[in-house]
């Protein structure tokens, strides 16, 4: 049988076609050394979970590079503080590597607390902090006692695992162990919820927050988009967790269910149909007739507001193909939204997927869809060249691979510029997809100067 694309023998089973034998690719394996992996480290995984907490200082305990390359890159918006955007580092030097960095870490935490009086200081362990054996937990405890401010250790040594999913879990653990359940809400209602796995990238959360409020649910906390640490501290009193990014945050809601008995619902606010379903499911969970009625009205109004607003785009996008190559969640949560635009998802893949993620992709896509795990940049380029989708959805590192091949691209990651969630978000989504797919610049390549 012809391979999906030419690659290393050991990599061939990381790609499959739904409906043809293997429907779930081999996944969650170490990347091959020497390839240009699109994956990142465990520290990166933990950081993207926690970084959107806006009133906190995110202090990277390591040499300067770990902070210098990653500060203020989350694309996560805030309606209040901007402390989370600061790039803070202990800037470990040679002496610290030899004699240990604990003292410097302590002094740095104390100093940052004096400068900013933050809601919390999250201290991230990097590779070197782990290798030299700094006891970050002890330093955090001590500086918390001295400052009276939450100082939270995040044990995210970068090398711990090939899969940054482990980093997501470590970020979630930091919240479970040190934040959630440490403060009681002033008032509770029967309709208290947490919005979990929503990072407010480009303001996505604001696309469906008003809908939830209008329904009559009370949002205790968002974990973690546009949040304050004190809000997350009260999350244990919610009656329901709704989970948007299930890739990063299923772990957290499962643990919260076990520890606090909070049930959860998987939601998806990308696309009209999914938004409608999600709102209904939340209302059904509470079973309050008035809420159910209100929700139907919200849905009716929401759909009415956007009716015909995407017609123009759909006309141009109809029948076009799209390839998804993302961190995890969007590999399944965007499929229906694209189908609503009349587009066909012909490939879906993730960099860090685990088996349960691929199960979800398999459920979401049609037969014949290529499913890819941990494609290196070479493999991705080969896939794009061979199957030539009309659009690639991926992140910054993949953008110019796609564009150089003349394949339109949309950034759905940190560098996204408009909010896509909710009813109105769907119109922005359609508009942005159209702006990529239908632009005449992609036809330029078929012209030539010397007319051959």
């Amino acid at each position: 049988m012809e391979p999906i694309v030419e690659t290393f023998e050991s990599r061939k089973k990381h790609m499959c076609i739904k409906g043809e034998g293997l429907s779930i690719p081999v996944c969650d394996k170490a990347s091959l050394p020497g390839t240009v992996t699109q994956r990142t480290c465990v520290y990166g995984g933990a950081r993207i979970i926690l970084m959107p907490i806006t009133d906190s200082i995110h202090l990277v305990h390591g040499p300067i590079g770990c902070a210098a390359c990653t500060w203020d890159i989350r694309g996560s918006k805030s309606s209040r503080e901007d402390l989370y955007k600061k790039g803070c580092s202990t800037d470990l030097g040679e002496k610290d590597i030899v004699f240990g960095g604990e003292k410097k870490l302590y002094e740095t935490v104390i100093e940052l607390h004096r400068l900013y009086n933050p809601g919390a200081v999250f201290v991230y362990a990097t590779c070197v902090a782990g290798v030299i054996g700094d006891d970050i937990k002890a330093v955090c405890k001590k500086s918390e006692e001295v400052t009276g401010c939450r100082v939270i250790p995040v044990q995210s040594e970068g090398f711990q695992n090939h899969n940054k999913t482990k980093g997501h879990w470590i970020g979630c653990d930091a919240l479970l162990d040190h934040v959630i359940g440490t403060k009681e809400p002033e008032k509770t209602t029967p309709f208290d919820i947490n919005v979990v796995g929503e990072f407010n990238v480009a303001g996505d959360f604001w696309g469906f927050k008003p809908l939830l409020e209008e329904m009559g649910v009370n949002i205790i906390s968002t974990i973690t988009g546009d949040s304050h640490v004190d809000e997350i501290a009260q999350a244990h009193r919610a009656k329901l967790n709704i989970v948007q990014c299930q890739k990063s945050s299923n772990y957290l809601v499962k643990k919260m269910e076990k520890k606090y008995g909070i049930p959860s619902i998987k939601v998806n606010f990308f696309g009209l149909e999914q938004t409608v379903n999600s709102l209904r499911e939340i209302a059904d969970f509470f079973g309050d007739p008035e809420m159910i009625e209100r929700t139907e009205k919200i849905i009716e109004k929401g759909l009415q507001e956007v009716e015909h607003k995407t017609d123009e785009y759909r006309e141009r996008l109809n029948g076009k193909t799209v390839a998804l190559y993302v961190g995890g969640n969007k590999a399944w949560s965007l499929v229906r939204a694209f189908e609503e635009l009349g587009m066909d998802v012909m490939m879906s893949g993730t960099k860090n997927g685990i088996r349960e993620d691929y199960e979800r992709i398999k459920e979401a896509v049609r037969d014949g869809t290529i499913i890819v795990d941990d494609a290196s940049s070479t493999e991705l380029a080969r896939l794009l060249k061979k199957y030539r989708p009309n659009l690639l959805i991926s992140g910054a590192k993949e953008k110019y691979i796609s564009l150089k091949l003349g394949i339109p691209f949309c950034d759905f990651n940190h560098d996204r510029i408009s909010a896509f969630a909710g009813f109105k978000g769907f119109v922005s989504f359609a508009k942005e997809v159209d702006a990529s797919v239908s632009s005449p610049v992609f036809d330029l390549n078929s012209t030539s100067l010397r007319g051959d």
Partner: protein, 463 residues
């Protein structure tokens, strides 16, 4: 709100050594850069570089994980070399270490030798180890060490070639291109270390996804020992030049970076002196045009206060250039703790009669604090300066790395007379846009304040 601080870095103005290594390696032809470390190192560096240059950036990783950290990285490094050799067949693999692999004590040179010995019967790429521990110095030193490692490992002294080695430091592709243009004008053959001019400003074509077919070649690196001299445009990247001078008697001229009139004069003189050439008359025309541009612009720039941040040689050269234009540098900041930088600024200050606050090893927090104290009318630096400029209500003139919130970072041109002309025009236009009204009149301070007060009142009414 802004205080002195001693321990923390807040909003860094430097990156780590392996980043400098990658910056240098992207100027090699048919090469594969490899970082021996965790996956995040190569991935986050690629992220920063790709959003700056708007080009695909390929850097391989040895993908270290918990097991290999405990037992040492030999297995992963050997495997990486094998995979790259077999699948990419580059002419050169350059391996930069990271904080992780330096700390666990991997002997990269030893592992590479072992790999070469095990494959003695096969044709292998040239493999160069580069020690770039992230916990010392900054990306500037990483760049320096990389050029040195490449030269040290590859030089083959044969016969004089009459060429001049030029170590550029990390410049924009446009600026490196201008270095080549100048050498061309002087009819002088150069070996550019390293030449990113084509690699990082590539046409729309699939071939951009292959290993670079432009850039400095292995043969050119071998040939550096035979050159007439070396000019390090960046003083902080001159170690390869020092090596070539000591070992092979190749004369070295270190700095300054040719930005502005005086520094460009000095570069042209150095190049001609090394190659024993008369300065051609044709140079005078562009030089005259730069002076003309500076005269045309003077009334808008005179005594404008400027704050500058970025790599040390860029900042010191820009300090001199803006002084030549009649501006007053008030805060100059680099992330590298460099004595050479402070010495340079002292010299410029004496010559030009200015006294900027000098931060060597400073971060953007420190710089912002000093701007609040001594003021600036314009800020020159990378995109990370945008929030400071916004808060201080001054324009940001984007130059340096990274620039991710505007297009064209590859084409920012500041070097030589011609780049200088471009810079003077664009800087002055930025000032015109910000401080002058649509009819060309200067907006007086009171008016500016009025606008702000009106805005506030408006905002209050809104509330």
């Amino acid at each position: 709100m802004y205080h002195d601080k001693k321990f923390s870095v807040v909003n860094p103005s430097k990156m780590c050594q392996p980043m400098g290594a990658v910056q240098a390696l992207l100027g090699l032809k048919n090469a594969m850069p490899l970082i021996h470390g965790s996956q995040g190192c190569s991935t986050y560096m690629r992220f920063q570089l790709t959003r700056h240059f708007r080009e695909p950036i390929e850097v391989a990783s040895t993908s270290m994980n918990e097991k290999t950290v405990i037992y040492g990285g030999e297995y992963n490094l050997m495997k990486a070399l094998k995979n790259i050799t077999e699948k990419q067949s580059p002419s050169i693999i350059a391996v930069a270490s990271s904080c992780l692999t330096e700390t666990i004590g991997d002997d990269m040179a030893g592992i590479i030798r072992k790999f070469e010995d095990a494959n003695i019967d096969r044709e292998l790429p040239v493999i160069v180890p580069i020690s770039t521990p992230s916990y010392t110095e900054s990306h500037v030193e990483g760049y320096n060490r990389t050029i040195k490692a490449l030269v040290e490992n590859l030089v083959i002294p044969t016969a004089p070639n009459g060429k001049v080695n030029v170590i550029t430091g990390f410049l924009s592709p446009a600026d490196v291109g201008e270095v080549k243009n100048i050498l061309n004008d002087l009819k002088l053959e150069g070996i550019i270390l390293t030449d990113i001019s084509k690699n990082l400003d590539a046409p729309l074509s699939e071939s951009a996804l292959n290993l670079y077919d432009g850039g400095t070649t292995v043969e050119q690196l071998e040939d550096t020992a035979n050159s007439t001299g070396t000019i390090a445009l960046s003083k902080h990247a001159d170690s390869a030049g020092v090596f070539l001078e000591k070992k092979f008697g190749v004369n070295l001229i270190s700095g300054p970076l040719p930005l502005g009139l005086e520094n460009t004069d000095s570069f042209i003189r150095s190049a001609c002196q090394l190659a024993d050439l008369e300065i051609p008359e044709s140079m005078e025309r562009d030089r005259g045009r730069l002076m003309d541009a500076m005269v045309d612009a003077h009334s808008y720039n005179y005594h404008r206060k400027v704050a500058i941040f970025g790599d040390p040689d860029f900042v010191s050269a820009m300090t001199r250039f803006t002084s030549e234009m009649g501006m007053i540098p008030t805060v100059v900041c680099t992330g590298a703790r460099s004595k050479r930088f402070t010495e340079d600024i002292d010299t410029i200050s004496r010559e030009k009669g200015c006294s900027p606050v000098t931060l060597a090893g400073g971060d953007l927090y420190d710089m912002h604090r000093e701007i609040k104290r001594v003021r600036a009318d314009i800020l020159i630096g990378n995109s990370y300066g945008a929030s400071i400029a916004l808060e201080e209500n001054i324009p940001l003139f984007r130059a340096g790395f990274p620039i991710f919130d505007r297009l064209g970072a590859q084409r920012i041109s500041t070097l030589g007379y011609r780049g200088g002309i471009d810079f003077v025009d664009r800087l002055t236009n930025t000032i015109l846009d910000f401080y002058y009204d649509e009819a060309g009149y200067e907006i007086v301070e009171e008016e500016l304040e009025d606008v702000i007060i009106e805005d506030q009142e408006y905002a209050e009414e809104e509330m």
